[in-house]
Structures are given as structure tokens and as C-alpha cells.
């Protein structure tokens, strides 16, 4: 490739925080707006229960379905609880769940991908076949099974989803890991006598980071939707604990009765966060791909 063009397509792989912010800026307006939404969601997840102006769990049936008044911007839900407070408090379980899923799936998936890429040959074939088998199970189905075996709850659902997502992660990362593994610099380190583990941890995984981050971001959105669906089905977070998916479920009758706000408000929260993660994730993915070429 000509010298001038080669200079153009070498992109910075973030080696420090300043470069990471530069990467973020490279995602464009949509990417940055999404990052802001995500940041807000993260703050709410951490401090939501403290920020809630009213008690999110105390029922007051006399106020059931009352619309927005006074200091209650979003009105009351089916049990007379302040919707806004419940949303703020629910942010925690709504975001922690997907975070757990992402961390679990990415960790497992990365390890399997790197091992398969490093060893290649029969080890790779066996691992890939195993992944194919797990792939066959839809996430929600596994979560339902987990609920049946271990009882309903966020933990069981999150673990089940982690396992269900892991093959997808491993597939995508395996390609990137293989590419890195075949680079001459890896061979140079092998010839030096460096151990496989140190090469993988210090060189192969860090060079895959842009892709890992992009993948994790997109996955957060999916996990959120799946977990919300599971909670909606009553198999995840149990009422009266606040959770956006649960709120959609319990306020659903209100739509037909002419009180859509509590249900839709929770839906909008989920949608906004999921879209933000999807948009940012896709932009980061594009950057990762562009940087690789």
C-alpha cells in the first residue's frame, strides 16, 4: 500500500485515558449523546434510591392511578406509589443485572476465545463445537429453566443469560484473537521463551480491547431487554422491589383503563438506555474495525 494511504489508516489504539477520550470523541454526535445517556443511567444506578423524593415501596391505595400533580411529576402507579421515585430506585436493579450478565459473558467468552485461538487445532475444534451447542439455546429459555430449577430471582436469571451470551462473544472474539495470535510479534515473543499465558494476557487481549469494549456495550442493551422481559414474566426481580421490567408488567392493566403513564414511563427508560448502548456500541465497533485495517 502506498505510504500516504498507510499513514491514514493506522488508528490510535488507546494506550491511555487521553487516547480513550479521543476514541469516544471519534464516535460522532450520536455516539457522544449516547455516552451522556449512559452516564446518566450509571449515576442513577448508583444513587437512584437516594435521589428518589418519595418512598418507592410504600403502597397507598387511595392514590392509585392518580395522574401527575404537585411534586409528583409522573403521577402514581397501580398501588399509589410515586412513579418517578420508583423509576429512580429501580434504576439500580435494572442496570446491575445487565452489568452482571455482560461481565460474566465477556469474561468467559474472552477466555474461551483466547484459549481456542492460541491452541488452535483439536482444542479449537472441541471448544467451537461446545460453543455451538450452547448457542442453540435462546437466552430467555435458559433463564426460564434457571428459574424453574433455582427459583425466580435476578441472580439466577443473570447467570443464565451470561451462559447464553457467552458463545456469541467467544465467536466474535475468537476471530480477533486468531488474527493477533498469527502476527509475527507473537512468534517473536514465543521464540524469546515467554509463556503462553503472559503473551495472551499482556499482548493478545490488550490488542483486542477496542473490540471487547464495543462488544460489551452492545451486549448491555440486549441483556437489559432480556432481563426486563424475564422480570416482566415474573421470573426475575420480584415485586415489590422496584425494577423497570417489573413496573411494565404490574402497570400493564393501566393502559387499557386509561392510565398509560406508569407503564410507558418505565418502557421509555428501558428503550432510551438500550438505544444509547446500541448506538455507542455500534460506533465503537466501527472504530475498532477501522483501526484494525
Amino acid at each position: 500500500m502506498s505510504t500516504a494511504l498507510r499513514a491514514r489508516t493506522r488508528t490510535a489504539v488507546p494506550v491511555n485515558r487521553r487516547a480513550a477520550l479521543g476514541l469516544l470523541r471519534g464516535t460522532g454526535v450520536a455516539g457522544m449523546a449516547s455516552a451522556v445517556v449512559i452516564a446518566v443511567g450509571a449515576v442513577l444506578a448508583l444513587f437512584g434510591p437516594l435521589l428518589a423524593p418519595y418512598n418507592p415501596e410504600l403502597p397507598n391505595l387511595g392514590l392509585a392511578w392518580v395522574g401527575p400533580t404537585g411534586g409528583h411529576l409522573l403521577g402514581f402507579d397501580f398501588e399509589g406509589r410515586d412513579v418517578l421515585s420508583r423509576l429512580l430506585a429501580g434504576a439500580q436493579s435494572s442496570m446491575i443485572g445487565p452489568l452482571g450478565v455482560v461481565v460474566g459473558a465477556m469474561a468467559l467468552g474472552t477466555v474461551i476465545a483466547v484459549v481456542a485461538a492460541w491452541r488452535q487445532g483439536p482444542v479449537d475444534s472441541v471448544l467451537s463445537a461446545g460453543l455451538d451447542i450452547i448457542f442453540a439455546f435462546p437466552g430467555i429459555l435458559l433463564a426460564v429453566l434457571a428459574a424453574a430449577v433455582f427459583g425466580a430471582g435476578l441472580t439466577a436469571a443473570a447467570v443464565a443469560l451470561s451462559i447464553a451470551y457467552m458463545p456469541y462473544v467467544a465467536r466474535v472474539l475468537r476471530g480477533a484473537a486468531l488474527r493477533e495470535r498469527r502476527q509475527p510479534y507473537v512468534a517473536a515473543l514465543e521464540v524469546q521463551g515467554a509463556s503462553a499465558v503472559s503473551i495472551c494476557v499482556r499482548h493478545i487481549v490488550p490488542n483486542m480491547l477496542p473490540l471487547i469494549v464495543a462488544q460489551a456495550t452492545i451486549m448491555f442493551g440486549w441483556a437489559m431487554v432480556d432481563l426486563a422481559a424475564i422480570s416482566f414474566l415474573g421470573l426475575g426481580v420480584q415485586p415489590p422491589a422496584p425494577n423497570w421490567g417489573v413496573m411494565i408488567s404490574e402497570n400493564q392493566p393501566g393502559i387499557l383503563q386509561g392510565y398509560p403513564l406508569p407503564c410507558l414511563a418505565a418502557g421509555v427508560c428501558i428503550v432510551a438506555v438500550v438505544i444509547a448502548f446500541n448506538v455507542l456500541g455500534e460506533r465503537l465497533f466501527e472504530q475498532a474495525e477501522a483501526g484494525r485495517r
Binding site: 510479534y185 512468534a187 517473536a188 521464540v191 524469546q192 515467554a194
Partner: protein, 278 residues
């Protein structure tokens, strides 16, 4: 055990080396020896098996048959322990062809060299720093370049970093796998001069894998010619290039562009001429 000082025991010796990939024989019965401070060229084109020989010597591939020994120690089978692996790494090292993928993009030259030093020696940080600076100077880079990431360096500069990294463990044998082939002519001359200087200073032996006969002449004392996995000619470099005996070597020699050269269509190698020229 280390060879006695001043002995003429070979620093690297290869006997009956063979590599099969299923039905394909990539390397067929290759044997040679390198004496201390002498340099050997392995000349051939694609499919000759020269790179496979290099990979077997460095342990990246496992020979199907045959013996390899370096610094008096056998290395025909994969290393059993981390310590053995590291010891082999301090005996034979390699510099690859492509400057753009021979370095981890995320590491500066100093970090790359330091990593190798940490691997082989238990020195404290300032001891390593001194050695890093020494190596950086040895390959002709300045401190600014040493602290730069590969993407800010040119092809020639990257190769120097790869060279410094390879020399960090003070190997006795350094394999140059087409290491100057991807460089501009003017840079190639600089690096060839540098390689000669390094050899004078460290007494390292080079194994130069190349298809470029002029580079081979400049840098090596002895040469072997490989064609389709077999060793077809061997001898002192000057003799092979001035009086090639095997038809393949002759054809190779005749294909090199030089002032006054005109290309001509191929003469086929007679089928019965495979095997070493006597």
C-alpha cells in the same frame, strides 16, 4: 554445556531435518552446520522450505524427523519447561520480514526491549534501563525514537527495534528471515551496514534467509540453496554465486536484475536434476 572457548564446535547444527504436513513434504533431508562467528545464507524462493527450516530451528514448528542442536544442546523436541524455553530463547533469536507486524503496536521500543530483559534476567529496573539504552544505541536509534510507539516510526526504524529486541537476550545465533526485503534500498544499505557492525561487536552468527543474492553476498560467508524442500547446493557464498553448479542456482543467478541485464523466458529444470549438485 557451553562449548569450550576457541573450539571449533559448531554453534548450530542441523541433520536430516524433515517436515511433513500430511502428504506435503515441506523440508526433505536438510543438514548443515554453522561455526562460531560464521554466517550462513539459506537461499530459495517461495515453496523452497527455507522459512520452515527457520521455524523449526526456533521451535515454532516441530520437525517430523531430524536433529537440531544449538550451543551444544539438543533442541529437536519442544522445550519441557519454562526455563528451558527461555534458555533456548537466549541462544537463537529471529527477526521477521514485515516491520509493521513484528512489533506490538501498543508498546514503545523501550517497553518491548525491557519485556525481553525481564524475561531473561532478574535485574532491577535501573540495571535494565542501562541495558535498554545500550541496545537502543547499538541499533542506531536515538532516545526519542526509543520512547515512540511503532506507528510513529518508519519501516527501517521498526526493524531496528525488532533487532534490538532480538539482541536483548544476547543470542549466539540470529535468524534474519528476509529482514531487509521490505525496506527501501537506501534504508536497506543502512541496515546491512548495521548488521555487519553488530556482528563485529557481538560475534553473533547470522542465518540470513533471503532470495536476494546481492544481500546474501554482502552479509554471509556460506550459503545453501533450497528448492522445493531439498538442499540442492552448498558452499562458500562467493563460490556459489560466481560458479553455480546446480541448474536451479544458475537460473536464480541469471534472474537477478543488474545493469545491462535483460530478462529472458524460462528454461525448465530437467526433471532428473533434483537432489544436491555434486
Amino acid at each position: 554445556m557451553p562449548e569450550a572457548a576457541g573450539s571449533s564446535a559448531p554453534i548450530l547444527s542441523v541433520a536430516g531435518l524433515r517436515k511433513e504436513y500430511g502428504a506435503l513434504v515441506a523440508v526433505d533431508d536438510v543438514s548443515f552446520e554453522i561455526l562460531p562467528s560464521r554466517s550462513l545464507a539459506i537461499v530459495g524462493e517461495s515453496g523452497s522450505g527455507k522459512t520452515t527450516v527457520a521455524r523449526m530451528i526456533t521451535g515454532l514448528e516441530r520437525p517430523t524427523k531430524g536433529m537440531i542442536s544449538a550451543c551444544g544442546r539438543d533442541r529437536s523436541r519442544p522445550a519441557r519447561s519454562a526455563r528451558e524455553r527461555r534458555r533456548r530463547g537466549s541462544e537463537v533469536q529471529i527477526v521477521f520480514q514485515d516491520p509493521y507486524t513484528s512489533l506490538d503496536q501498543r508498546q514503545t521500543a523501550e517497553q518491548a526491549i525491557d519485556e525481553v530483559l525481564r524475561l531473561h534476567h532478574g535485574w532491577p529496573a535501573d540495571g535494565r534501563r542501562g541495558r535498554v539504552a545500550e541496545l537502543v544505541g547499538l541499533v542506531g536509534l536515538d532516545s526519542r525514537q526509543a520512547r515512540a510507539l511503532p506507528r510513529s516510526l518508519s519501516g527501517g526504524q521498526r526493524q531496528r527495534v525488532a533487532l534490538a529486541r532480538a539482541l536483548a537476550a544476547s543470542p549466539r545465533v540470529l535468524i534474519l528471515d528476509e529482514s531487509v526485503a521490505a525496506l527501501d534500498v537506501s534504508i536497506q544499505a543502512q541496515v546491512l551496514n548495521l548488521l555487519a557492525d553488530i556482528r563485529d561487536e557481538t560475534s553473533v552468527s547470522y542465518i540470513l534467509i533471503s532470495h536476494d543474492l546481492a544481500v546474501v553476498r554482502q552479509l554471509t560467508d556460506d550459503a545453501i540453496v533450497m528448492y522445493r524442500g531439498q538442499l540442492v547446493e552448498r558452499g562458500p557464498t562467493a563460490q556459489i554465486l560466481d560458479e553455480p553448479r546446480h541448474p536451479y542456482t544458475q537460473r536464480l543467478r541469471a534472474s537477478v536484475p543488474r545493469p545491462g541485464w535483460k530478462p529472458s523466458r524460462r528454461q525448465l529444470i530437467p526433471a532428473d536434476q533434483k537432489g544436491e549438485a555434486s
